[in-house]
Symmetry: C2
Subunit: 351 residues, 2 copies
Amino acid sequence: MTLEIDTPAVLVDLDVAEANVRAYQSYCDSHGLRLRPHIKTHKLPRLAEYQIAQGAIGITCQKITEAEAMVAGGEMRDILLTYNILGAEKVARLRTLAARVPLSVVADSSEVVKGLSAGFADAATPLPVLVECNTGADRCGVATPAEAAQLAQGIAALPGLTFAGLMTYPPIGRAPEVAKWLSEAKGLIEGAGLAVSTISSGGSPDMWRAHEMPLATEYRIGTYIYNDRSLVARGVCDWAECALTVLATVISTPAEGRAVIDAGSKVLTSDLLGLEGYGHVLGRPDLKIDQLSEEHGRITCDGPIGLRVGDQVRIVPNHACVVSNMLDHVVLMRGTEILGTEPVAARGQVW
Amino acid sequence: MTLEIDTPAVLVDLDVAEANVRAYQSYCDSHGLRLRPHIKTHKLPRLAEYQIAQGAIGITCQKITEAEAMVAGGEMRDILLTYNILGAEKVARLRTLAARVPLSVVADSSEVVKGLSAGFADAATPLPVLVECNTGADRCGVATPAEAAQLAQGIAALPGLTFAGLMTYPPIGRAPEVAKWLSEAKGLIEGAGLAVSTISSGGSPDMWRAHEMPLATEYRIGTYIYNDRSLVARGVCDWAECALTVLATVISTPAEGRAVIDAGSKVLTSDLLGLEGYGHVLGRPDLKIDQLSEEHGRITCDGPIGLRVGDQVRIVPNHACVVSNMLDHVVLMRGTEILGTEPVAARGQVW
């Protein structure tokens, strides 16, 4: 079926997205886990509001400008910024934002904590700060439970801040090690007389196993609302549960086993996430998107490709979150019904 | 030195960019080659105007919206759209654009040519169409010189169009094969009574060897204005000739040999172009940017990393063109002088 949409375009099927939100909220509810969706996947206030209306306790953002865009576009209830906010100008902006919405942040060093305290020392309400813990993903985070306890005490001792708990971006499939790490940190911190009110974990790959770490009080998750090829490959969802697709048109069929579409790296991005090729052409598992230039996607297959110039293809990208960031608008759909375009409010926000 | 710029930010040193433009214009002038820069690298009307003022015959764009943004922002003289324009709505918009600026396009199939003719049949001025030729890069393009000749005659025979020459996106380092292909096509087309007024080749990797294919009348090139890590790796330029850099701040130093910066795939992109790692930290060849999340860049090295929280680093990205597309603004500099921010006029234009 040809859709009356000019290509390339990013399509979001709201029926699918909303069903994904409800399904995972139900899972969290049944396990007593608070859900805090990461809005980086969709960047749309309307979907954040839907997530909250279904039971999410608030949202996760990565950057101040992303949070600002969400607050400007809807009622966000409560925001956790899972990022080291550094620099006087950013901290001042954080304080302005904290006056508008309940806000907490993370930190993994005394430098970051000192900067936050300097900005909030005379604030009417102290800023809740969670300690980011490296439980094995080796990105940010304090290295040991002892360091976590030390930083927690540092936060509690500084003006303008309250210690609010532990946060981790966990390695995939290692719940027991993560639980051991966090449990040890929690024990040390409680031993020092501080309450650990929140333990925040997350990640879409392990989403259906979140209950295997009951220590966590809340779960941060982004991709589950759209799903993508990487999560299908991991067995987390199937193609019918992929809400975000890229609609492209075949602009050339220059050889028997090759076609070129008008979606390149400026739409699909070069993210591989360990996969081969740059997306899955729905209904055509025999095709491979084997090369991207900025505006060209090359599709190959072993036999005759069976595509003609002008044909549309619909692609599940490797990584939905980064595709949301590429265009200023997405096209909202319900099944085959086109609802219209929606600006991606938090696109491009990296500050 | 710490720059008074909040990070992450994309910096463009105009002194370096302008020197790059002049150096390559001088090379083209000395070889009698017309230069037609591809604006996808910078997406800034002011730099396109600079390229034209230095002697470029016009510009190359990939998409209609990109060309529209350039025409809206400056005097572009002449535009070649190196893309199969397909669909009635796009062709109508192409015609509107052609009324504003001398415009030519490419095509590699009769389907595309017929669509163009349908849209321009009653236009006051016919649309010049070049035949795109696959000389070995295996993206778009007719497969053989005989097909090129056939399509050229098809273009010449249709109302609203004129045959304007041959265009190729050549494979790297294969000038003799490309020349043989194009020469054969030219002979066949001239034998059929048509003039081949333009033969358009291009590509930054072979930019200093463009004269090795004297058959080409014009050269399309984009990256040369900014350069990037991929071109340094190929020996085309050196670090001092890289005009676009990403300024980032160290936000975490969680282990002896690891630091995390606030520039991730939303700034640096996941483009590898065959390289390892996601960019070169200027002045620190021992560092490796080995992993990107959307907002985190992980830097590792074998020994102590020698970076502190709050330090700035300046990164030459793997691929400058895609970085230009990520943020709404770039910061213009001359050396260490900050001139201000400039909107990236043609960012995100994929239609």
